[in-house]
Each structure stands twice: as C-alpha cells, then as structure tokens.
Symmetry: C2
Subunit: 252 residues, 2 copies
C-alpha cells in the first residue's frame, strides 16, 4: 500500500528535519576534518571509523532524501528544507569562522521548525507561526550571545573566537538586550488574532523577560552575567511564552 | 481567528513534544536537587536561579499545557502524551536509580516521536510507523548500552552505576547484540507493504548492522569496544535505515 495517506504529515516533517539535520552534522564533520584531527580525534573521520569521501557521500544521500521527502508536503516546506540545507552547507564550509554566525544559525534553525510546521498548513498557517518563530529566533540569539559571554575565559584559553571575544562583554550584553527586545515586540503581534486574553498572558511573560534583560544590562563582566543566571531565566521565559501561545491556540 | 485549522497538526505535535520534554527536564531538576547540590551546582535550583517549589509548579504547567494541547489531535496521540508524561515523572522520581532504565527510557522516548507522528494519521498510520519505532528503540538501546560499556572507567571513577558496571562488559555487549538483532527483525516487517524493493534496500543496511554487531561481540573490554567504533557505525546505520524507510514511503 502507498503511504502518502497513511504516514501522516507530522511524521514526514519530522523525518525531513531529522534527515536534513543529520546531513548537516555529516557535512560539518567533512569540512572540519583538519581541526578535528587535533581537537576531536574521536570524531568519525579522524578516528578512522569513516573515510572523508564516505562521509561526504553519506551527507549527500541524507540531504537528497530529506529534500525528496519534503516534495510530499508543499512548496513552502520544500523551500524551507532547501534553504536550511544550503545554510547548513554554507555554515560548515565557511560561515562558522565568522564570530556570531554559529549563534545566528542555531537560533534560525530552531525557529525554522515552527515555520516548517506552520507552512505545512499553507500561507495562513505560516502567518500564524511567524511571530512564534521570531520570538524563538530573537530570544535564542540573545541567550546564545550571553552564554558565549559567560564562557569567555574558557573560550579564550581554548583559542576559540566568539562574538563577545571579538566585540567585548558589555557590547555583547547590550546586543543581547536588543535581540531580547525584538522577541518582546514579536510576542505582541498575535494580539491581533487572539485579543486581550492573549495580551494578558504574554504581558506577564514579557515583564519577566524585560526584568531579565535589565538584570543582564547591569553586567560588565562574564562573572557577573554568570551569577545573574539570566541565561537560565531566558530559557524559562521561552517555555512560558510557548505555553501562552499554545493555550491561546487551544482556547482563543 | 481560531487556529485549529490554521496551526497545522505538525506544529501542534511539535509543541506537545517540546512542552512534555521541557516538563520532564524540570521535574528531573526538582527530584535531583540533593544530588545536583554536590555534582551540578550550576543547575537552576542549587544555583539559586529558581526555588524547588517554583520548578515543580513550572513543570506542572508545562505537563498540563502539553497534554491539554494534545487534546486537539486524537485519542492515540493523547494516550502517548499522557504515557510519556507518567514515564518522565516515574523516571525522575525513582526509575533512574535502576541501571539500564535510563537507556531504555531515552530509547523509548525517541522512538515514541515516530509513534506520535504516525498516530496522528490514525490506526493505519500507527501501524505503518510501528516497525520504524521498534527499529529506533532497539538500535538506540543497543547503542546506549555499548556507550555505557565504553565509558566504564570514567563512570566507575565518578561512582555512577550503569548497566555494564552492574553486569560486566561482556554480558552488556551480548545484551546489546540481542537488541540489535531485534532492530534487524523489526526492519524486515515493512516488506509486507513495500515488497522486494524495500527488502533490497533494507537488506544492505541490515548486513551493515549485522557486521557491526559481530564486530562488537568480539570485544570483552571497554577499550576494544571503543576502538571498534561500533557506536558510531550503529548511528550511521540508523540514519541509513531511515533513508530506506523514507524513500520507500515516497516511491512504493
């Protein structure tokens, strides 16, 4: 029996995400082989578990399977699957040597899962999930930058180049605050669909987020930021905004 | 506007998985507070970022939101969301002190994502994805046990109790082989739907898996297992069986 009707859209989307992510990991191993030979000798290629050519072919098979499978969904989802594949290859080949690029790529890829799920329902679905994707992207980006600021000393000792190492802790903290403010703005948009009840719920979360952001702004050093626990609090707030979004989607 | 029609099933399923998983992490932090105070002082409760009571309430909100949201899907998906929630609470409260339970729970939770996606399409969808869930469960369980066998010395030094520490490396290696054989058996089942082309594809992967299993069986020590790279190879094989499954779902 053909499974187009039996294997649900949710499973197909999950498989596409799984395959494209796996392909991205493999192509990263392929491009990183010289660095891994020194820093990560346990990785598949340096350890001899796989040949570089084999990993390249394996990655190509996974990208091809993921994109082929996305053809069962719709044009929006295919576009996202193709865009994410290109981004993963670009990141592995060169983008990751730009400080901050890793933070942005991870934040986008996580946010794109929401876009992917919404796009499956067509243009209207994509529209509804876009604020959620923007909240996720901005809040994760702020959190990633602050986490890098917290890890400054360890990263310096290891010779890694992160955004806070490049621009300094205080500018990084302020940049993170700007992104967090972006998340707050994005979170207000769904008020146009869900009205005052949503507004009441999201306002509580946004006040928490604002308090976290102001707390972080008071820090000029990595130690201060670590002690303030703002990265943990942002994680909590992200989940809570998801709860408000989810409850609104059910009730309103 | 109500979003039942706009926010697609895929996104709802993703949110349910996200919320229930987040709830499971939080309840684990709640029950682990005494151990974390010594081993993981950076976790939210020992570090003072959150109160134990606050984390408990936060976890309850996430479980409640996840299960409430699952009511938008169907009875199968609700049953899986409830079962996974109970399992996560049971695991955090007591099950994790049983060696091997962690391996089994992680393997089941990963496999259950496939069940969840299939169940959304109803009984027939659930039937089609069950072999894939079983392959994932068995192969991950074998891999988790072998990974614990590889980490024997480090775990012993840290006073952690894993299955290979309890039963010995060789019995653990053999147990892993049995689970891997279970994955091979499960992988053959879809032949009844997809016929000889699927059989040809999955036979290639299964021969690789069998070779990996026989390679592992030759090891009596953690060092030998590590050197054999069998855990990396099982990971590759899991992805490849997913590719065969995905391609069959599209073409057959």
């Amino acid at each position: 029996m053909a499974t187009g009707t039996l294997v649900s859209g949710a499973l197909i989307l999950f498989l596409v995400v799984f395959l494209v992510t796996g392909a991205g990991n493999a192509i990263n191993d392929y491009f990183d082989v010289e660095i891994d030979r020194i820093n990560r000798p346990d990785r598949p290629i340096p350890s001899g578990a796989a040949s570089a050519k084999g990993v390249f072919i394996y990655s190509a098979i996974l990208f091809f399977s993921g994109i082929t499978l996305s053809l069962l969904t719709n044009a929006f989802c295919v576009a996202i699957a193709v865009a994410n594949s290109i981004l993963l290859i670009w990141y592995a080949a060169s983008l990751k040597r730009t400080p901050g690029a890793g933070n942005a790529v991870i934040s986008y890829l996580t946010a794109s899962i929401f876009l992917f799920g919404g796009a499956y329902a067509g243009p209207d679905g994509l529209l509804v999930v876009t604020p959620l994707a923007l909240i996720t992207f901005f809040a994760m980006l702020a959190r990633e930058i602050w986490k890098d600021a917290e890890d400054l000393e360890g990263d310096l000792a290891q010779g890694a180049e992160t955004l806070p190492i490049r621009i300094g802790v205080l500018p990084a903290v302020r940049l993170g605050f700007l992104f967090l403010a972006g998340a707050i703005f994005a979170s207000v948009v769904p008020v146009i669909w869900w009205g005052p009840y949503y507004l009441a719920g999201i306002a509580c979360v946004d006040l928490l987020v604002l308090w976290v952001g102001i707390k972080a702004l008071g820090c000029k050093t990595a130690a201060c930021l670590k002690k303030s626990r703002v990265t943990t609090l942002v994680k909590y707030a992200m989940f809570l905004s998801l709860v408000v979004f989810a409850v609104s989607a059910v009730l309103l």
